[in-house]
Amino acid sequence: MESSELNAPGYEIPPEIKGQIAITSLDRIYNWGRSASVWPMMFGLACCAIEMICAAASRYDLARFGMEIMRPSPRQSDLMIVSGTVTKKMIPTIVRLYNQMPEPKYVLAMGACASGGGPFKEGYNVVSGVDRYIPVDVYVPGCPPTPQALLNGLMKVQEKIRGESIKHSRWYQKGPDMAEIPIPMLGPDLIDPRKVDLIKNSEKA
C-alpha cells in the first residue's frame, strides 16, 4: 500500500512532517500489516505442492507478497494452502491441523482435487473437496494451477483480509470461540462425527 493511500483525506498534515506522519483508520493499517505478512503453512499434499514450491522459488518469488515464510507448524501459520488431493486417510490430520491453527486463519484450496475431488473424485479413498470438512476462503482452479494462478489466489486472500474489520471480525467478538471441527474417524469407511445420526438412520431405513 502506498503511503498516500494510508493518508486519509480531510485531515491537514503540516507539510514539514508529512513524510513522518500518516493518518488512517485502525482497520486499514492493521489489515495492511496482516495482509502483507501472511505465513502459509508448509504442508504439501500432492502435485500442486510442487507448483507451490515453484511459486516460492526463484522465478515467481512469493516473497514479493510477504509470504515467503512458510511455517511447518500450524501454531505459527495464518493460511493453510491445501495443495493437492485430500484422501480419506489424510483428512483427520488436515482437520486436526486446521483446529490447531490460531485465529484468524484462512484456507486456500489449491487445484481441482482440493476444490472438489478433481480427476480422482471417483476414487474410493478420495474426499470430494476439502470444503466438506473445513471452510475454504479461496479456490484456485487448475490441475495443477500454475504458480501465477496460485499468486493470484494468494492476492485474493490478501484482498479478503483487507476487507475485514476489527469491529465485525468474529475472533474479536465476545462470546464463545468458534467450535472446533470434529475430527473424522476411520472405520469401514470415513466417518464424519457430524453425520453419525444420518448414518445410523439410513441403516435402519
Partner: protein, 579 residues
Amino acid sequence: MAAPLSSQTQELTSRFSNLINADTRPGYSGWLLDKTHLLEFATALRDEFGYDYLSSVTGVDYLPEGKMEIVYQAYRTTGGPGVMFKVQVPRTDPVEVPSLVPIYPGAELQEREAWDLLGIKFTGHPDLRRIFMWEGFAGFPLRKDWHEPYYEEDVKPFKNRWPTGKIVMSESNNSYNDNIAYPKGFNPESQSFNPEKALYDALRIYQKNEVGLDTDHIIVNLGPQHPSTHGVFRVAVMLDGETIVNLKPVMGYLHRNHEKIGERNTYIMNMPYTDRLDYLTSMSNNFGYALAVEKLMGIKPPERADYIRVMMAEMTRISNHLFLIGSLLNDLGAYFTPMLYALEERELILDIFEAVAGSRMMCNFFRFGGIARDLPDGTLKKIKEIFFERFPRKIDEIDRFLSENEIIRSRGVGQGILTPENAVRYSATGPLLRASGIPYDVRRAEPYSIYDRFEFDVCTRKNGDIYDRLMVRFDEIRQSIRIIQQAAKQIPEGPIMTVKPMYQVRVPPGEAYGRVEGPKGELGFYIVSDGKPNPWRYHVRAPSFINLTAFGPMCIGQKIADVVGVLGSIDIVLGEVDR
C-alpha cells in the same frame, strides 16, 4: 521382455519339466506353476539361474474364471530378458499363496499391496498388514466385484454422460451425498477399534540389544505432515536413545486409487492419469505406459517421434534430479538456497515442456504410436541452446558449490549405507541401486525405444551412502545431457504418428509388461487386456514405492536425524508411492 526365448525355454523346461507349464493363452507369455512349487521354483531361479532381482509382484482378479493370478517378474542384474511366472489360485476366501519374502525380500511391500487391494493372503509374510488403506477398511478395492461409493458403471465412458452430454453429479446417487459407503447394519457409535494398533504392534517386534543398560525404547512419528518427508509420508520409528532400532514406513495418505480408476478408464484416458503418478516426471510415466500399450497393440512410433520421446524423457530426468538435489540439500540443512539454484534451471526445462505439450507439469504428451504434436518452431533451437551451452556449465557450477561442502560430506559420507547385496535383495532400482555399485540400467540392460543408438555411461558409485546417491544424480544429469545433445543432432524430419490419432484404440487380448528407466528407477506397467476398450488389469510398478523396501534396513542403527537424509536420498514422490 518376458516372452520366453528359446534358450530360456530350454533351460527352464529341462530343469523344471514337471513343475511349470508355458502360459498358452493367446497374447500371454511366461510360465504357470502351482503354488506348492512356488518357493522351490523361486529359490532355484535365484540361485541356479541368476534371476536375482524380483522386479514386480502383483495380482490379477479373473472374476469370470473364478481365479486369482499372482504375477511375478524376475530379472538378472547382469541384464537381458526376464522371466514372468504366475501362480493361479481359486478365488475363494481366503486366497492364499506362499510369500516370496524369504527368497526375495524386495517383495515385502508389494505383497502387502496385493493383500491390501486384492485380498491375496501371503502365508509366511513377516508383516502382512494393509498398506494403503487403513486397518479395518471394508473390502478389497481392486477386486472386480467390489464397487466404490461413486460407482456408476464398470467402464467408461459412462452412458449417462456420453453421448447425451447430461451431467450427473456423482454425489446425487449416494445416500449420504458423499463419497462414503458402509456395510449393512453398521453403527458408527459402536466403533471402538484403533486402526493404528497393528502398526505399533509391528513396530515392537525387533532385535533387542542385550548388552548395556536396559533402557526404555520410545516410538516417534514423523509425518504425515512433516516438512522433510516430501509430501504426506509417515515414518514410525522405535528409538533407543537417538538410535533407530526399528522403522516402519506408513503410506497411503495420497492413495488416489490410480489402478481402480485406470481399470474403468479407456486406454487413452489413462494417459493424463499417468502424469499424476510421479508428478515430477510426467513425460517418463507417459513413456512407460505408451510402451506397454504399444507392445500389446503391436505398433511402433515413427523415427522422429522416438527421438522427441527420448529427448523429453531425458529432460524429465534432469529436471527430476535437479529437484532432488535441491530438496535433499534442504533436508541436510542447507535450507532453501540450493533449491533456488536448482529450480532456476528446472524452470527452463518446464518452459520447453510448456511450449511442446502445453503444460508445465502434467504434459500428457505421448500417444499410442507416436506423440501428441510435433515440436513447435524454434523449440529445437532453444533445446540446443540450453543443452549445449547453459546446462553443462550450470551443472558444474552447482556441483562445485555443493559437493565438497564439509557439512554435506559429514552428513552424507558413510551414512545410510546400502550394500550391493542388499540393494539387489530389496529390489532397489535406479540411482539407489547404481549408487551401491551395481551397473543396472534398463536403458542398457534391455534397451527400449531407440536407446541402443546413443552413447552414454551407466553411472555408478561405490559406497552406497547418502553422498554417493547425491553424486550419482550429478553423473546422470551429465549423461542425460549427452543423450539430448546426440538426439538433437540426429533428429530426422518426418511424421510423428504411425496411426491416425483416435479417441479409442483397439487393443487385442493379452498381457504386456512395459518398463522404462524412469528417473527414480524401473517404472513398469503391467496391463492385461480382454479386447475391450478398457484394460482388465492395470498395474504400475512404481520405483519409489519399491525402493522404500530398503528404507527400514538402511536406517536401522543410524541416528534419528539421518532418517530425513536417507529418505531424501531415496527420492520418493508420494503420488507414485501411494498411487
